[in-house]
């Protein structure tokens, strides 16, 4: 069975590219455009990994990350945070709040797929 990845970002252009990319890499993909939608979808489909943008409307990525980490149902879910800020303190905050990896925009698509693959396998 294919591994499930949830893409949480409010910019449709990046979502489209990521969706295509991960489908090509053999993953099953779902998307969400707000923080709340991300949590709802995650609780429904129990993704193996969430690509989580920090600047989400209605609950930002940090809050979503903390909530997911506090939910025992989602303890197996890996979180890769995506951010357009990229200050080192922010990255450290994301990791402190339980993210498994942190990717700064813009990123190489191959590196991103590699990161996902390292965390949850093909």
């Amino acid at each position: 069975m294919a591994k499930r990845v949830l893409i949480a970002d409010d910019e449709p252009n990046i979502v489209l590219s990521l969706e295509f990319l991960l489908v090509q890499a053999g993953y099953e993909v779902a998307t969400a455009a707000t923080g709340e939608a991300t949590l709802d979808t995650a609780r429904r489909i129990h993704p193996d990994l969430i690509l989580l943008d920090v600047m989400l409307p209605r609950k930002n990525g940090f809050e979503v990350c903390q909530t997911v980490r506090a939910d025992p149902q989602l303890s197996a879910t890996k979180i890769v945070m995506l951010t357009a800020k990229g200050r080192s303190t922010e990255i450290a905050k994301g990791l402190a709040l339980g993210a498994d990896a942190y990717v700064t925009k813009p990123f190489g698509t191959r590196e991103l797929v590699d990161t996902v693959r390292t965390l949850i396998g093909p």
């Binding site: 489209l16 590219s17 303190t89 813009p106 190489g108």
Partner: protein, 756 residues
């Protein structure tokens, strides 16, 4: 010293007693020498002319009066005058010579004294020449310093450990240019908090109350006047200054080399100044001990424009970076998909091409937008953060929190070697704000503070046991201004975090089960420590005669006259009768600090009296109606003058006249002049009751003072100030060295004048 009238009576009595006594003795001797028959004959003679003895007595009385008058005129008065003139020559004006008068012997004595005075003057000149020579090198260094100071773009202020200003440059004067005359002192009172007597640099005032606004010896109130001898705390809010000084002293004590404190504070008119304060090396009491600072150097910069500018540029930069990153991410992903998957369906390919075009356009727009916004902005300046030891930060936080919450512990395990780049004051406010909200909303009262971490980050943790805080609450607290937690700040927690490049979150520490707020801060550069063998010597330019003793209100009366600060002033008026509606039309004043006239810190204002000026007065001072029309009125000038006089003794010539005018304006202006007052007219009488001319010009001439701009308020104030300084050694010669003694002596003279 007795008055001439009393002297005449005394001498007269002496002469009379002497002649009457001589006559009586003669009569008794005669009576004893006469034999029986002759004695009888004499008695008959006496009895037959009964009034003769009385007549004789009156004649003796009159003769002794004439004798006394002659003696006083010829001998006593010239001798007294000569004595006083000798004192003037010896102590005040070496060029002053005695007038030849009196009998030949006295003229010889006066000639001898004058010859001695010539020698004395010549010797003084020689000494002066040598002193001048020795000082020349020093002066040129001082001049170089002065040039350097005036060339500095920054404002420089130097104060002694008590906050008394001992040096400032032109830029500082401009920064603190006198406030608008419309402003009254109450416009901008720095709410004077309770005085903190701990540590160096507390305000010189021991009472620390400000109930009575007319009490000029209270806590420094913002005056807006910069000046030597004035308090720093009358220019800058005391709290951040004291805080910075306490921190500097701690850091110096910890052996840090050249610590600098930085803070930003507000001035009237919505201006912000950034202050860099550093201690001046003092003399070490022993080799092992760090010298206590002999004062502090403050560099000030008006950053009002800069702060808004920096905030705007930060915004531009952040918008650009974040906007560009997002657009680039979309663009890159789309183009990489196109490149890496050449076989994708045509429809999908067209979609990715469209995304690439759209995102490339967004990117260009973002860059264009930023470059437009940035075009008129200057370069970014480094943030005003100071490097601080983690342990010191914890100590500062504990001190800042202790009174607010139940208990604050420092974690034993804190790493003592961590240094942080922080704005300590702001961070204390931020942590106190969090602690107060935790206390008020979650009832948490006991905290532990801990500093830990590793380069490039350090953690400051505010830990407690119990309540967990939701992410939403944390987020809301970040966006509130600190005033929601009772802090005097309009900044939000987020502002402070952004300023530090810091992040904050709430979490549970798994091993200990403690809840905590974790500040993540950039690690600072460790400040270099002082190597005792390389302790710098006294700076070459260190030549500031810092006053060491601060005068409190009670001690003022006992203060040495030479150490007090004075405002010497004069007024010009429409006429001579304030009771009949005459008004002040000019006030001129200069300050004396450390027995030096500060001509650069003058007060010189014309005032519109809103009435005609008496032509007889115009003839004296030359100020006509046209000159004062449209000038500020007394209600606006007097409060400014009152601020100018803060913490000084008032001095004037025949000052009772001026004070009467000031006092009649108390109700109209709301300011009262309750400072101690000294009158050079009365002091002159104390010194010279034999040199009867007490007019300002006569005294100035006697002291060898050049009179310029006589009968302008400022000119007369200047002359009065010079006279007052010349009087100080003469008063000291009479044992009058304190304010109390000077006032008492003047009072006695006033009564003396009233009686005669």
């Amino acid at each position: 010293m007795r008055a001439p009238g009393a002297r005449l009576i005394g001498v007269w009595a002496g002469c009379f007693a002497l002649s009457a006594g001589t006559a009586l003795a003669l009569a008794l001797a005669l009576a004893a020498a006469l034999a029986g028959e002759e004695r009888r004959l004499a008695r008959v003679l006496l009895e037959s002319s009964g009034s003769l003895p009385y007549l004789l007595l009156i004649m003796v009385f009159a003769a002794s009066g004439l004798l006394a008058s002659w003696l006083v005129k010829a001998y006593f008065n010239p001798i007294a005058r000569a004595a006083e003139a000798t004192a003037v020559s010896a102590l005040a004006n070496p060029k002053h010579r005695l007038a030849a008068e009196g009998p030949a012997q006295l003229r010889h004595l006066i000639a001898a004294i004058n010859a001695l005075a010539d020698h004395h003057a010549a010797a003084l000149d020689a000494v002066d020449a040598r002193v001048a020579e020795a000082r020349a090198a020093l002066e040129s260094e001082k001049n170089r310093l002065a040039v350097l100071m005036s060339e500095l773009a920054q404002s420089v202020l130097v104060c002694d450990p008590n906050g008394t200003i001992v040096l400032y440059n032109e830029q500082a004067r401009r920064l603190f240019s006198p406030p608008d005359i419309e402003k009254t002192a109450t416009d901008h009172d720095f709410s004077p908090d309770k005085p903190q007597r701990t540590g160096r640099g507390c305000a010189p005032d021991p009472h620390g109350h400000l109930q009575d606004p007319t009490n000029t010896w209270s806590v420094p109130v913002y005056s807006g006047f910069i000046g030597l001898g004035r308090s720093l705390y009358s220019l800058l809010a005391p709290e951040p200054v004291r805080y910075a000084i306490e921190r500097l002293d701690q850091r110096t004590a910890a052996g840090e080399l050249d610590p600098i404190g930085i803070f930003t504070t507000a001035l009237p008119g919505a201006r912000l100044v950034r202050v860099r304060i550093s201690p001046m090396a003092g003399a070490a009491r022993s080799a092992a001990e760090m010298p206590a600072p002999s004062g502090y150097v403050l560099l000030l910069e008006d950053v009002s424009q800069e702060v808004t500018g920096v905030e705007r540029r930060d915004r531009i930069l952040i918008d650009l970076i974040e906007g560009a990153r997002a657009a680039l991410a979309s663009l890159r992903a789309a183009t990489e998909n196109l490149a890496h998957f050449p076989d994708m369906a045509l429809e999908r390919r067209q979609r990715f091409v469209a995304i690439a075009v759209e995102e490339a356009g967004r990117l260009s727009e973002a860059v264009e937008h930023a470059s437009r916004d940035h075009a008129d902005s200057a370069r970014l300046r480094p943030r005003a953060l100071e490097s601080m030891r983690g342990a010191d930060l914890v100590a500062a936080l504990r001190a800042g929190l202790a009174s607010e919450v139940g208990s604050v512990h420092a974690d034993e395990g804190s790493d003592p070697h961590i240094w942080l780049d922080v704005d300590c004051h702001a961070l204390v406010q931020a942590v106190r704000y969090l602690a107060r909200r935790l206390r008020d909303e979650f009832g948490i009262r006991d905290y532990t503070l801990e500093v830990s971490g590793d380069a490039p980050h350090a953690y400051l943790d505010l830990c407690w046991l119990g309540a967990r805080i939701s992410a939403a609450t944390t987020s809301a607290w970040e966006d509130d201004t600190l005033s929601a937690g009772g802090e005097a700040s309009s900044m939000t927690l987020r502002d402070i975090l952004q300023h530090h490049g810091a992040e904050l979150w709430h979490e549970i520490d798994r091993p200990s089960g403690r809840a905590r707020f974790r500040f993540m801060l950039p690690v600072g550069a460790r400040a270099p420590l002082r190597n005792p063998s390389e302790r710098p010597g006294r700076p070459v330019f260190y030549d500031f005669d810092l006053s060491s003793a601060a005068n409190s209100g009670d001690a003022l009366d006992e203060s040495p006259l030479r150490e007090l600060a004075y405002t010497v002033f004069d007024t010009e008026t429409t006429g001579l009768d304030p009771g009949a509606g005459d008004e002040i039309i000019a006030i001129g004043a200069v300050r004396i600090v450390n027995a030096r006239v500060l001509t650069g810190e003058a007060f010189d204002r014309l005032i519109d009296p809103r009435r005609r000026i008496d032509p007889r007065s115009v003839a004296i001072h030359g100020i006509g109606d046209a000159m004062v029309r449209g000038q500020p009125t007394i209600e606006r000038v007097l409060p400014a003058f009152h601020r100018f006089c803060t913490d000084t003794v008032l001095v004037g010539h025949n000052v009772a006249f001026d004070m009467r005018f000031l006092q009649l304006k108390e109700d109209a202006t709301g300011v009262r002049f309750r400072q101690p007052v000294l009158d050079t007219l009365l002091l002159s009488a104390v010194l010279h009751d034999n040199l009867s001319d007490d007019r300002l010009e006569a005294i100035a001439h006697r002291f060898g003072i050049e009179v310029v701009a006589r009968h302008t308020a400022l000119g007369d104030a200047l002359v009065t100030a010079e006279i007052f300084l010349k009087m100080l050694p003469l008063l000291a010669e009479r044992g009058i060295t304190t304010l109390r003694a000077a006032r008492a002596a003047a009072e006695r003279t006033r009564y003396a004048q009233l009686r005669y």
